[in-house]
Symmetry: C2
Subunit: 254 residues, 2 copies
Amino acid sequence: MCQLLGMNCNVPTDVTFSFSGFAQRGGHTDHHADGWGIAFFEGSGLRHFVDHQAACDSPVAELIRRYPIRSRNVIAHIRKATQGEVALENCHPFVRELWGCYWVFAHNGDLKNFHPRLHGSFHPVGSTDSELAFCWLLQELAKSHAGVPSVQELTLTLRELTPRIAAHGPFNFMLSNGQALWTHCSTNLFYVERRHPFSHAHLADEDVSIDFARNTSPQDRVAVIVTAPLTTNETWVQMAADELKVFVDGAAAG
Amino acid sequence: MCQLLGMNCNVPTDVTFSFSGFAQRGGHTDHHADGWGIAFFEGSGLRHFVDHQAACDSPVAELIRRYPIRSRNVIAHIRKATQGEVALENCHPFVRELWGCYWVFAHNGDLKNFHPRLHGSFHPVGSTDSELAFCWLLQELAKSHAGVPSVQELTLTLRELTPRIAAHGPFNFMLSNGQALWTHCSTNLFYVERRHPFSHAHLADEDVSIDFARNTSPQDRVAVIVTAPLTTNETWVQMAADELKVFVDGAAAG
């Protein structure tokens, strides 16, 4: 199984601190060494980095740790291959365009006997169950809405579609169009909402602390969602099984 | 106007030498400082880097110069904005998926009164004429072929479609699906085919030389295509106006 990291904020925020701890799980503090990836929205644009090397050894991951890219929506993934060989085309997150927006998707789980009919415009490039699920989700979203719907409408449609995939096995996922971050929990997903008054946090996977109060303004709100809590001294909320939650402007919105 | 760089090879080759000289044009030896981007195919997978900073200053470009990513098909672009503001979503190359393959496109030129009807599955995220032309090209390719056609068939279809865009203005472009690299010249495009016996080359934009004989085997073939010759001591072939050329396995194939 893999690990997921998502961040949703009301102002562009750098993910360096969270990614630094998370990347340690890609080979150091955990065994997810079969590739990794991260996508940052910047406005409607996207930076997308994938690598089939372990995140803890990857020169590209080293760049991300050092170069503070500021974003309101980030999705990262470190991979422990279950389906699909270790190859670049099988690294999450996956990206497609729909309605003139980029969509980013990453999955942790294992779908069995999942062979949906793809009769639309989205087809997997690699051989993972995850990319197949993403292509099917986008196909069904495209069929359900003529143009780009509101976040609330998208959430309702996703709540209808998700159980049809989750029936095939664990389907923890993160999805973003740069406007909101949708997360679905089958087995493990935790989140924390950071807001004023900010305090300091200590990473679970590295001996690193940060004082958020020094780098934030009172209006800032940041939600971080992850497979297993990243810090030892914050209150992480565990999502329930089969719960789909959408984060907007740094807070859970439904 | 912008500058384009493409590389097509029969074995995965690193583009460090050519990119190093090319990136100097993004702010140092030339004025193309409104962003840049590069995409590398690795098998069917893709690494895609874009940045709205000048290529000569960008930490991501610095990574590419130092970290030899080996690829058989590479497209890079440095931008001098003509249409569309300086923003990440307007940086070339652009990426879409069609028929389960990634497609990469970059353009140098300026299309006037170009308002094609987009009734298919591809819509621009940014505001450039270039991404619009790419979306229309993919829409028309998708309509012309039920599944992924041969390189020869794609070349014929592109030869039919390209003049319909080029009627609107300069349309130098590069397009790849990881299998071949198509280039179209309206105004400026040069290429060199490197093959055995390899010799040394000297960059035009930096005082750097390389002896290709030391890093190659006799079977290697590499084609490099660019807006203006990158080296001072190789024979660059200038493409004719309105010429569309496809490169396969490191050589011009038609």
